[in-house]
Structure formats: C-alpha cells, structure tokens
C-alpha cells in the first residue's frame, strides 16, 4: 500500500470463515471511518464493498471452512481508505465472471458482487491467483489523481 500520513489508522486482522466475524470487522471499520469523519456516502460505499468482498472470500474462496482464515489489512487516512482481503481458496480470474448487466444475464439472481465493488470503490486490484483483492476509496471531495493501488 502507498505511504500514509496524517496519523493513519492501520490494522491487520485474521478471522475464521464465519459471516458473523465478517460483520464484526465491518462494524469495527465503520466506527473508525465515522471517527475519521468520513461522509455517510463514503461509509455506505466502503461497507458495501467490504460486505461483497468478505462474503466472496468466506463463501466462494474458503467455502465456509472455518479452519481456513481470511486476513483483512486496512489503512484509514483523512484522504483515503485502503483494504486488502485475502482468503485461502483456489482464487479465480475476475475476467471469467459473466457480465451481470448483459441481456442474457440481467435476470440471473446472482453474480453482481464484483460489479458493485468496482462501482462503489475508486480502485480495485486482484492479486496473484485471485484470492486476494485490494480496494481503495478516495474520500469525497479529494481529487482522484492519486487513486493508485500498488500490486
């Protein structure tokens, strides 16, 4: 992740593959974002992306196996929120996921998580075999010229 300033909040957490644990992490991050005076809109965007990415990691990555863990590393600065979520699954190629907005898929009941993550975050990068994703949200009112997530 890029260098931080302005007293960033930094944390690295590891949770079992349990959706209740994922909710706990989301609540923790929401509190930190509120303490850092992020807007309601930014907090909604980040919460939604976290929800989608954590559910993907736990359900599709780790197949709900509680012996497999999900690591969540995040940094919050006054300018941006960055998070990297990694599971112990086989990974996947995001380019292989069918476009859920295509006519033939639009009425399918699932497969919209990745689209929403990309829609609500400023930058999204998948790493290695696809079992790790970095997401960045540049805060409302901050220029996007530095929206870069390193791989």
């Amino acid at each position: 992740m890029s260098s931080m300033c302005d007293n960033p909040i930094v944390a690295e957490l590891s949770i079992p593959s349990d959706l209740a644990e994922a909710r706990r992490i989301q609540d923790l991050i929401e509190e930190a974002l509120q303490a850092s005076a992020y807007s309601e809109h930014d907090i909604f965007s980040i919460k939604l992306a976290l929800e989608e990415a954590l559910v993907n990691a736990i359900k599709h990555g780790n197949q709900m196996d509680r012996d497999k863990r999900v690591t969540v590393c995040y940094q919050i600065t006054p300018q941006r929120f960055e998070v990297r979520i990694t599971d112990e699954g086989e990974g996947f190629n995001p380019d292989d996921v069918p476009d859920p907005t295509a006519i033939e898929n639009i009425e399918r009941p699932c497969g919209r998580g990745l689209l929403l993550i990309r829609g609500f975050m400023t930058n999204v990068v998948y790493h290695g075999k696809g079992n790790s994703v970095s997401m960045t949200k540049i805060r409302d009112g901050v220029g996007n010229s530095d929206a870069h997530t390193s791989d």
Binding site: K47, L48, E51, E107, R108, P109, G119, F120
Partner: protein
C-alpha cells in the same frame, strides 16, 4: 405450548385496493438467512396469497447488498409470469446506486414515492 421460537416478522403488508404495499421491518437486508426468509415471505404473497400487484416500499431500508437483489429479480419474474407487476419505491440514494450500477433499474419499475408507486400499476 409450542417449543418453536416465535418467527420474527420481517415484512409489513398493507392492502391499498388490489395492491399489496410491503414495508421492510429491517434497516439492513444482509445476512443470508434473513434474506431467505424475506424472499419466502415475498414469494408467498404471489404463490399462496394470489397477489398480482406488489409495491415494495424501501423507506426503512438503509443498507442492502447484492444477495438481496436475487430475491427481487425472482419476485419480478414470478409476477411477470402471472401477468402481475412489481414496483419499488422510496429507495435511498445510495441503495438506488446499487440498482443503477447493476442496471436493474432498467428492468424493474422504480418510483420516488409511494403515491407515484401506486399509480405505476
């Protein structure tokens, strides 16, 4: 006395003419079990109670993930199959973005408030 715990009510349904106006009790439509039960209750309106016009009022809903979208699409298709109609109204701006990004706003009828929702049938 039943040993079953009381099942939490997740929807409030009010009949306005032949339209079932549905309000969500939960502010967050998130966890899978919850979404499953909401879906079951919505489908029951069509499959068992024979409703053909359903207006979903999202005024209470503050947060919703992609998992809930599948239930709405299934409800839309069920109603279409019986020449009925689904209308959504009073969706908060951030949640409306969920529908716009997924382009579901193109296949679902979405109105700003309940009054215009009632008139959309």
């Amino acid at each position: 006395m039943s040993s079953q715990p009381a099942r939490k009510r997740r929807l409030e349904v009010e009949d306005i003419g032949d339209i079932a106006v549905v309000n969500f009790v939960d502010k967050k439509i998130l966890d899978e079990q919850n979404i499953q039960m909401i879906g079951d209750d919505l489908f029951r309106l069509v499959d068992e109670l024979g409703r053909r016009k359903v207006l979903l009022n999202f005024c209470n809903v503050e947060f919703m993930s992609s998992a809930a979208l599948g239930k709405l699409i299934t409800l839309h298709r069920k109603l279409q199959a019986v020449q009925g109609k689904l209308v959504l109204c009073k969706i908060a701006k951030d949640i409306l973005d969920v529908f716009k990004i997924t382009k579901l706003d193109r296949i679902l009828t979405i109105t700003p408030d309940e009054q215009s929702g009632l008139q959309a049938f």
